[in-house]
């Protein structure tokens, strides 16, 4: 084939060989090609479970007869619930739902045993934290059957007639904080954190690598600016940008999706500020490690993937195995999501989310230390 031909296998092979050589030299891209599929497989295959089991539940029982015990035992053995030992007071149960330590509160009224035997269909009240409807829907769906089977065993013999159809008990379900089970109520506050994670980390990750790639870093380092000054100067503008994004999302949440705002806007903004600060600092740390803008973007992606999968944004946090929950607990997004959902849907106060904010602040501190440690004062 002549050199001037329109289609030259030799030219194509030249390009292919060059591409493969460059790929081999770019270790991070190479690592991504291998690690990303494995990471995705492990996360989706093992960590993600859309039918969460062993959700924490509290019992407030004013009666403690054999039938109540049978119901509790059945719930416990159903695997859907991890029932806290003992009987909680109503106030404690309320608080547990609010701060998220319990997903369900099961209340059994006084005289339950007597009414059951008399066939009066006594009530059992199930209060579920419905801020994440997908996490609770399966459990709530399985609940009537679990109770019926438990009671059918109990109400054998002379009491068999009491095991009536539809049911011997009147199961009342309260979907707290999101009575209609609207998914948007869960997704929109979640998006707030997810969007912030993506944009703020990426923007700051590019901050130093851009200077390095364009050759301006050498000049900057020859000037009398200290590492702390450079870090603050590079981070603060992006905190401002993050706050603009938050405002935009909150306005959409209000006017497009009518997500309720039960708590204090000031608290939400304070929590958001801590979260953005942690993210931009993480992005800055990435940019002290990455050698190019491409690497900075890849690192951001590496971080983003587990963040959306393991934080409870897409899939119920409690549905994940313990190791995945541990990983998820390190991510600031996990704690921020709980805070935002708490404030917006449950009206959480500072006291309810202080643990979450503390976790984000601790993360921030660690990352900022790494960033300052990693920042090279010289070109060495």
């Amino acid at each position: 084939m002549s050199a001037a031909s329109r289609f030259s296998p030799s030219r194509i092979s030249a390009l292919m060989i060059k591409e493969i050589i460059q790929l081999k030299r770019d270790r991070l891209t190479f690592a991504m090609i291998l690690v990303i599929p494995v990471l995705q497989l492990v996360l989706f295959g093992y960590a993600i479970n859309t039918d969460p089991k062993r959700l924490p539940a509290l019992i407030t029982a004013a009666d403690n007869g054999p039938n109540v015990r049978a119901i509790v035992a059945a719930l416990a053995s159903s695997d859907y619930f991890a029932i806290a030992p003992g009987i909680a007071s109503e106030a404690d149960a309320d608080k547990a739902l609010m701060d998220g330590t319990a997903a369900y509160v099961i209340s059994i009224p006084p005289d339950f045993e007597r009414d059951l035997v008399r066939g009066l269909r006594p009530q059992i009240l199930i209060e579920a934290d419905a801020t994440d409807p997908s996490a609770t829907s399966n459990t709530l769906g399985a609940l009537p059957q679990i109770i019926d089977i438990a009671l059918a065993r109990q109400l054998a013999g002379p009491l068999a007639t009491k095991a009536t159809t539809p049911s011997a008990v009147d199961l009342i379900i309260h979907r707290r904080y999101n009575p209609e089970g609207i998914t948007a109520y869960n997704i929109v506050p979640g998006l707030l954190g997810t969007i912030l994670t993506m944009t703020t980390i990426l923007m700051t990750a590019l901050a130093l690598t851009r200077e390095r790639e364009r050759g301006t870093l050498e000049n900057l380092m020859a000037m009398p600016a200290t590492p702390v000054e450079i870090m603050i100067g590079k981070i603060v503008p992006y905190i401002g940008i993050g706050l603009v994004q938050v405002s935009l999302i909150l306005i959409c949440a209000e006017f497009l999706f009518h997500v309720p705002m039960m708590g204090s806007m000031a608290l939400l903004l304070a929590a958001t500020l801590v979260f953005i600060a942690a993210n931009v600092t993480l992005g800055y740390t990435f940019s002290t490690i990455a050698r190019s803008q491409m690497q900075a973007m890849q690192m951001t992606f590496f971080w983003f993937l587990p963040s959306i999968l393991l934080s409870g944004f897409m899939f119920p946090f409690r549905g994940m195995p313990e190791w995945a929950q541990w990983v998820g607990s390190v991510l600031p997004l996990t704690h921020y999501l709980r805070s935002v959902r708490g404030i917006m849907l449950k009206g959480s106060h500072m006291g309810d989310i202080s643990g979450e904010l503390g976790a984000i602040a601790a993360f921030w501190l660690v990352v900022a230390t790494i960033a300052l440690f990693r920042y090279r004062r010289t070109l060495d």
Binding site: E218, N219, A222, M223, P224, T378, D380
Partner: protein, 326 residues
């Protein structure tokens, strides 16, 4: 250099050594620069010029060596030195996506320059860039970028100016103007250390230091360096230059043979031996060309210095853009 200003030492460094990946890029370098001097820092690519300059302004930490820059310890006072030193990098390193004025304003703020707006305005005027102040720096030609970089590097009135190959890729007129400006600044007491490849620029320096593969191999004024080399030159004109070059090249006493237009420059260490070699060669090929003694150029000296420096010292690759070994 005006003798009245001599004596005050600006850079006094000795034993400066720096390795990248086990390879000594700068080896036991000593520098001594006086106030108001323009010192040319010469040497082949990868000889350690940039690395040395970066160590002086605190961008790289020396492995060993000690000294002072503007009276401050180069190892301990890097932060204070940075405030008093202007550094112009080899590659344009201001912000291409900022306008000319914004770049100057940025620099002025970083150095906390008094009367900032006034100083930026003055600088723009002196540069002749007032009407183009809102143009993006990236849209400037190479010569203008270089002028902008120089103006930005001296805006905080440094006492020492370090220039790393400042005129690479700049046209002759812009280079001439650039050097005029450097001499004006030096006359006002600014000390300048400038690395370059260009011989004409070396000749514009008060003093030159030649570094090859990490070692300083020559220093002094241009005349001193040429004299130290002990080289003599014969210029042959007329006749078949290429044939003469081939005839004379491998003779004893001949080190360099280089055509310059219609002339041939032949360089060797001993004038008598050189003369003999040239005469024999011309007679051998029966050429009627005329040979006369000529002046040895700085370039001839530098090529000699490069060739005699230990070749095995040459690093396989110079440090990359970020000063890291390749």
């Amino acid at each position: 250099m005006a003798d009245a200003m001599a004596g005050e030492t600006v850079i006094a460094i000795s034993g400066l050594t720096k390795s990248f990946g086990g390879k000594k890029v700068v080896d036991d370098v000593a520098l001594d620069v006086k106030r108001g001097e323009i010192v040319g820092f010469l040497g082949p690519n990868g000889s350690g010029k940039t690395t040395t300059i970066r160590m002086i302004c605190g961008l790289l930490k020396p492995d060993s060596g000690s000294g002072t820059c503007l009276g401050m310890d180069i190892l301990k006072d890097a932060d204070r030195i940075k405030r008093e030193v202007g550094y112009m990098t080899q590659r344009f390193s201001f912000y291409e996506d900022l306008t000319i004025r914004e770049n100057l304003d940025f620099v002025a703020r970083i150095y906390a320059i008094d009367h900032r707006k006034e100083r930026v305005r003055e600088t723009l005027e002196r540069l002749g860039l007032t009407s183009r102040r809102n143009q993006l720096a990236g849209s400037l030609s190479g010569g203008w970028k270089q002028r902008l970089a120089l103006a930005a590097s001296v805006m905080h009135q440094p006492k020492l100016l370090l220039l790393d190959e400042p005129t690479a890729g700049v046209d002759p007129l812009a280079r001439r103007e650039f050097w005029d400006e450097i001499h004006r600044l030096a006359a006002d007491g600014l000390t300048v250390l400038v690395s370059t490849h260009y011989m004409d620029e070396a000749e514009r320096c008060h003093r030159i230091i030649y570094i090859a593969y990490g070692h300083i191999v020559a220093r002094g004024t241009v005349a001193e360096v040429i004299a130290q080399s002990g080289l003599s030159t014969m210029i042959i004109s007329g006749g078949d230059i290429i044939a003469i070059a081939n005839a004379v090249r491998d003779r004893p006493g001949v080190e360099q043979v280089a055509p310059f237009g219609n002339d041939l420059h032949v360089v060797g260490p001993d004038p008598m031996v050189l003369q003999q070699a040239v005469d024999t060669a011309l007679a051998e090929i029966g050429s009627a060309a005329v040979a006369r003694p000529g002046e040895t150029s700085l370039e001839d000296v530098f090529i000699r210095l490069m060739q005699t420096a230990r070749i095995e010292d040459r690093p396989p690759n110079g440090p990359d853009e970020n000063g890291r070994p390749a």
